[in-house]
């Protein structure tokens, strides 16, 4: 069994670009097993692109990415699929399958990867729906019949379907009401404690950062300029980091702690 604290995601010298538009250059980042790492950065600094690159949805233009200690890009298709089951992803806009109900969306990975009875799948889907704080009646609704915040939760439920080792979340609390967002923070903490889950969390939500993250990585100037705890962030005198963690909103969020 893998040890807590060992690196689970390693990004070295990553370069990505779209045409001539370089998004990342010489980006290094290590995420350890069992931690919640928050990725912050201004809009358009490439947080979502970094997440997609780690997932293998975009090819890096230079550099290496290792997840679970393996360079997945080098594996044959079949083996890579096996490893891909070990993570769950919540995309920025939910990315639910519009032709399926919420329950069916959650059951997609069960159907594809496992042979479970329909009874068990229904039961597990219902548990996941309850876990993310949706009403049970949401199970039979289609994504277009849900509100934006509810779609986020449904996307999270699908990401949790296979009880993954790593959870990639792209702005999970955006669009959630404050109560829902707080419940989300609790859920992340509980899952981390109970399952040793590693969470790669892209967020602008300062409350979530405070409540859940063990470490924070700041993305700016095309690479990770600082990785550390909240206290490290507060001490940094990099202008953007200072602005971010000492701005009026940050003070309000910190004051609550």
């Amino acid at each position: 069994m893998a040890q807590k604290g060992e690196p689970i995601i390693e990004v070295e010298g990553l370069m990505t670009r779209f045409g001539d538009h370089v998004i990342h250059e010489d980006l290094d980042l290590t995420v350890n097993r069992g931690e919640v790492i928050g990725i912050v950065g201004g809009s358009g600094t490439g947080k979502s692109v970094l997440l997609r690159t780690i997932l293998g949805l975009k090819k890096p233009d230079a550099g290496r990415i290792r997840v679970f200690g393996i360079d997945l890009a080098e594996l044959p298709e079949e083996e890579r699929r096996l490893h891909e089951r070990r993570w769950g992803v919540l995309f920025q806009d939910g990315a639910l399958f519009s032709a399926l109900t919420i329950a069916e969306n959650i059951q997609v990975p069960y159907r594809e990867h496992l042979h479970l009875s329909q009874e068990l799948m229904d039961e597990l889907a219902a548990i996941k729906i309850a876990m993310v704080g949706l009403r049970p009646t949401a199970a039979s609704l289609y994504p277009s019949e849900l509100s934006g915040g509810m779609r986020k939760r449904a996307g999270l439920a699908r990401a949790l379907a296979l009880d993954p080792e790593i959870l990639f979340l792209d702005e999970p609390t955006a669009g959630l009401d404050p109560i829902g967002a707080a419940a989300f923070d609790d859920l992340i903490n509980e899952l981390k404690e109970a399952l040793g889950l590693t969470v790669f969390l892209v967020t602008h939500d300062l409350d979530t950062l405070h409540a859940t993250c063990d470490r924070i990585a700041v993305l700016a100037e095309k690479h990770v300029i600082l990785v550390g705890t909240i206290d490290d962030m507060l001490r940094s005198d990099h202008p953007w980091i200072h602005e971010y963690f000492h701005g009026p909103r940050a003070r309000a969020a910190l004051a609550g702690k």
Partner: protein, 364 residues
């Protein structure tokens, strides 16, 4: 005493067999008394397994057993408590209705839908006409750029396909006609056959069907995906009129291009026929042309071209309306696109039949 000893990896990947066993255990009769679920052999554990074990414990308790968990680690305990707070998930579904009821229901639903659809289409035509009226009153609101763009896409870009297909059909009709008419020694009338059939009917019908497949479907898919991504709502919220922005340019563009395409299709059909006649009947191009002239009068061509704008309007309206009826899912874009093509081809043929009756009545 009932003792359930769990061991090894209790994760979702290995859950299927264990779940089956536990289900049959809880479904069958059990002796009252004490039950122990032993966790100490468990290596890995996840929420799904917690859910299954919680359910097992709950079902056993309902049968009057006292259930205890043994050897539960702290994280496992927390997970079990968490799952417990969600209670029994209600996974019951409404039982499916018997087959005959469903049959009647589907007939009823479809009939109602046809009625509603007809009403909706009439309403839509009304909306478009009133939007056209507004545009006519204020011609500067007409969107010239999309109009030209759609003329190019649905007209100019369709030319190669329309030319090729009508040329081939013209040739086929001529060849079949010549073979049949030769039996009466009347093969010279092949020319009349091609000229009349193409100019009155086939040139237009073929073109309309090709355009319905190419452009009607494109209209539905374009407008449908915009609807799906709430772009139409965004337009309305910005005070823009989707009718004016999306529907009128398309309807206008097709109404202009379909007659033009039809005219070219007619020429290509005659050309195809001419080529066959030249080889099969040794008829020189000059003779062919003068025979065509004899066979055709003004109304033969006019009958074909008069129908074209009406069919164009039908294709464009059906396509746009289907696009605007798309609901949230990607599947509905596909369903609506299919429906729009089927419906516009259907209506084009119905319209053609109505026109045939009309022209017969007025004697041309």
């Amino acid at each position: 005493m009932l003792r359930i000893a769990a061991s090894g990896d209790w994760t979702i990947a290995h859950l299927s067999a264990a779940d089956g066993e536990l289900r049959s255990l809880t479904a069958g009769p059990v002796k009252a008394g004490r039950a122990v679920i032993d966790f100490s052999g468990i290596a890995r554990f996840d929420t799904s397994s917690a859910a299954v074990l919680e359910r097992t414990a709950r079902l056993l308790e309902e049968k009057g057993l006292r259930v205890e968990f043994e050897g539960v680690s702290e994280p496992q305990r927390r997970l079990l408590d968490k799952i417990d707070t969600y209670g029994t998930p209600d996974t019951s579904k409404a039982p499916p209705a018997p087959f005959y009821i469903e049959l009647v229901e589907r007939i009823g639903v479809t009939t109602r839908e046809i009625g509603e659809e007809a009403r909706g289409m009439l309403g839509f035509i009304g909306t478009v006409v009133s939007a056209i009226g507004r545009t006519a009153a204020n011609p500067r609101r007409f969107r010239l750029v999309p109009f030209v763009h759609h003329m190019e896409k649905s007209g100019f870009d369709a030319l190669p396909l329309v030319c090729l297909l009508t040329f081939l059909i013209g040739a086929v009709v001529a060849q079949q006609g010549a073979v049949q008419l030769r039996q009466f020694g009347a093969e010279v009338f092949t020319v009349n056959l091609i000229a009349i059939i193409f100019l009155r009917e086939v040139g237009l019908l073929l073109t309309a069907i090709i355009v319905a497949g190419r452009s009607g479907s494109a209209f539905t898919a374009e407008i449908g995906s915009m609807k799906m991504r709430e772009e139409i709502d965004a337009m309305r919220a910005l005070g823009l009129d989707p009718m004016e922005m999306l529907v009128i340019p398309r309807v206008a563009a097709l109404t202009v291009t379909l007659p033009l395409l039809t005219f070219i299709a007619d020429l290509m059909g005659l050309l195809g026929g001419g080529v066959v006649v030249f080889f099969m009947l040794d008829m020189s191009p000059g003779v062919y042309m003068s025979r065509v002239q004899e066979a055709v009068d003004f109304w033969t061509i006019a009958v074909g071209l008069i129908k074209a704008p009406f069919m164009a309007a039908v294709i464009a309206l059906v396509g746009c309306r289907a696009g605007l009826s798309v609901t949230g899912s990607a599947e509905s874009v596909g369903a609506m696109t299919t429906r729009s093509v089927v419906r516009s081809i259907f209506l084009v043929i119905i319209l053609d039949a109505l026109f045939a009756m009309f022209f017969t009545a007025v004697g041309i």
